[in-house]
């Protein structure tokens, strides 16, 4: 919680956004919308490079959803709600689904009695590439069914309303585009939307498969390339993100080096995601066997326990939702 408050304080001097780094996220979404708009309205823009760029930025849109649902981009509560709807259109799913699916269930793995809806074990083909391809077909429906169950027992007062608004905006605008131009909407809007939404689900497999979710420091795989993390808004640093979910994304690289590197098995730091994907899913057929991961340990561990940090992260996630609600 303290991290979240300091983040808010740090952002007081910036106009509109809580931190100046947020402009990078705003820029990513602006580029994504520009790509979609160009392909819808300018026939000459309907080509493979533009399509590929839209797919990539759709994935980044899902990364921005993830960050925004941990810590809102804007000072204004109303703007944060509107931003959620904008992001929901980009991914064709309501951004608020991340609160139960990611912040409250995935971050807990299966520690507190609900199996992770996006656990790597949900796929089990022997040819590992098929697991990567198939994973969203399983994790997606499990996530949305789980969100429905969570909403039924949640005391979060505005969740269902906000979820419906985002769903209505995302599907309403997409439906409108279908009416205007069916093929344009299907091929140049819906396909990129689905690509991004499905890739962010695959990230769960990529970051956790064959890691040890029972471990304090070896539960996640990190991708530590600098350029990769610039465009991915530091989403390559996954261990520290799990352990300190309330920490702003712009601080994750330093915290990773300070807190995670001395304590984790070094094999879970991957210099390049592309190299990892090639090595794991294309250049080998079988799924790798679980490795015996070591926790070298730091001299004096001054961090709070997993339960303490988890409670702080939950408080942060719910505070974020409350900020949005009050607007």
């Amino acid at each position: 919680m303290a991290v979240s408050v300091s983040a808010l304080e740090a952002g007081q001097s910036t106009w509109l956004v809580r931190r100046r780094e947020e402009w990078r996220q705003v820029g990513i979404i602006a580029v994504y919308w520009a790509l979609l708009a160009a392909m819808v309205f300018v026939p000459a823009a309907r080509n493979v490079p533009m399509f590929a760029a839209a797919c990539y930025f759709s994935f980044l849109n899902a990364v921005v959803i993830h960050n925004h649902m941990h810590q809102g981009v804007f000072h204004s509560k109303a703007l944060n709600l509107i931003w959620r709807a904008v992001l929901s259109f980009g991914a064709l799913y309501p951004a608020s689904a991340n609160i139960p699916a990611h912040n409250l269930v995935h971050h807990h793995f299966d520690d507190d009695g609900d199996l992770d809806w996006a656990a790597p074990d949900h796929v089990r083909f022997r040819w590992n590439l098929l697991n990567l391809l198939h994973f969203p077909n399983v994790a997606g429906p499990r996530t949305f069914a789980g969100v429905q169950r969570w909403a039924a027992s949640s005391r979060h007062p505005s969740f269902v309303r906000q979820y419906r608004i985002e769903t209505g905006f995302a599907f309403g605008l997409t439906g409108l585009l279908f009416v205007v131009d069916f093929w344009g909407a299907l091929l140049f809007v819906v396909l990129p939307q689905l690509y991004g939404a499905r890739c962010i689900l695959r990230i769960n497999l990529i970051q956790h498969d064959r890691a040890d979710i029972g471990s304090e420091w070896n539960h996640s795989r990190n991708f530590v390339g600098r350029a990769f993390n610039w465009i991915m808004c530091n989403n390559g640093y996954h261990t520290i993100h799990h352990n300190r979910a309330g920490m702003h994304w712009s601080e994750l690289d330093r915290a990773h080096r300070r807190e995670v590197v001395p304590r984790m098995d070094p094999r879970l730091d991957e210099p390049s995601m592309v190299a990892y994907l090639l090595r794991t899913y294309l250049l080998r057929v079988r799924r790798p066997a679980p490795a015996l991961l070591r926790e070298p340990g730091a001299a004096a561990d001054q961090l709070g326990s997993r339960a303490q940090r988890r409670a702080a992260a939950d408080a942060s996630a719910l505070a974020e939702s409350s900020l949005a609600r009050a607007g």
């Binding site: 009695g113 083909f125 399983v138 093929w183």
Partner: protein, 255 residues
């Protein structure tokens, strides 16, 4: 490849290819369940009646679903399954031929309860006071924990599949061969429906002239089938989980 018309055609071809890849993957995942159930169904089955058990209340074995109940304070508790476990306490089963089968304690087996009996065991609450007491805990973040237990005890008819006390042994209150056969037919139906729907959509999509209204109808149907078959595939995966691991979930309400 980089101009508009070729770009559109190429992306449409990639989309159709991707549609087929995922429809085949969904069918393939179901086939894995079909194959595994087939292996399970090959085990020899012996039937008999439990004569004695060394567990609590003379139980021979039990299946336990650990659940967490959560509520927003509206008089309803929603349960999610945290874990499923099977325990054999040891005891004697009198087989139909008259021979006695002595079983030792083990947790390396699957105890299949009768699912209607498990549903009854989970039903509740017995009284408004029970619901009120449970709800107080269920409103907290940690939730209200309970175990739903179904025991196999003296007088119960059981099916013993596989080598007694060996790995993979099943001790069931229902006929595992019949259950497995039914589920395999369900999977087969799903796989055929999945492929038939994909084929039908493809025929429509490729109906000449391309990109005209029939083609459009096919593409719309393909999008619906692609999005719809994923939750159906997951629902099937859950429906064919063996009874020892079948999801229970459920809810309690004042009404």
């Amino acid at each position: 490849m980089f101009d508009s018309e070729w770009g559109t055609t190429l992306i449409a071809v990639v989309a159709l290819g991707s549609f087929w890849i995922h429809m085949l993957l969904i069918a393939g995942a179901a086939w894995l369940d079909w194959r595994d159930l087939g292996r399970l169904g090959r085990a020899a089955v012996q039937t008999g009646v439990v004569r004695s058990g060394r567990g609590p209340d003379r139980a021979l074995a039990r299946n336990v679903v650990a659940q967490i109940g959560r509520s927003k304070g509206d008089g309803v508790i929603h349960f999610s399954d945290a874990s499923h476990r099977s325990e054999l306490f040891g005891g004697v089963v009198e087989l139909d031929g008259g021979r006695e089968l002595e079983l030792g304690p083990s947790t390396e087996l699957a105890v299949w309860p009768a699912l209607d009996r498990r549903r009854r065991a989970a039903a509740g609450p017995e009284s408004a006071a029970t619901l009120k007491a449970a709800q107080a805990s269920a409103r907290r973040a940690r939730g209200w924990a309970r175990d739903v237990v179904v025991e196999l005890g003296p007088g119960d008819r059981v099916f013993v599949a596989g080598r007694p006390e060996g790995p993979g042994m099943i001790l069931a209150a229902i006929d595992p061969r019949r259950w497995i056969a039914g589920k395999r037919w369900l999977i087969l139906g799903f796989v055929l429906a999945d492929l038939a729907l994909a084929a039908a959509c493809t025929v429509l999509i490729l109906w000449p002239p391309l990109f005209d209204w029939v083609s459009m109808l096919g593409a719309g149907a393909a999008l619906g089938v692609f999005l719809g078959m994923q939750p159906v595939g997951v629902a099937l995966q859950e429906a064919v989980r063996t009874p020892d691991r079948a999801y229970l979930r459920g809810r309690w309400s004042a009404g």
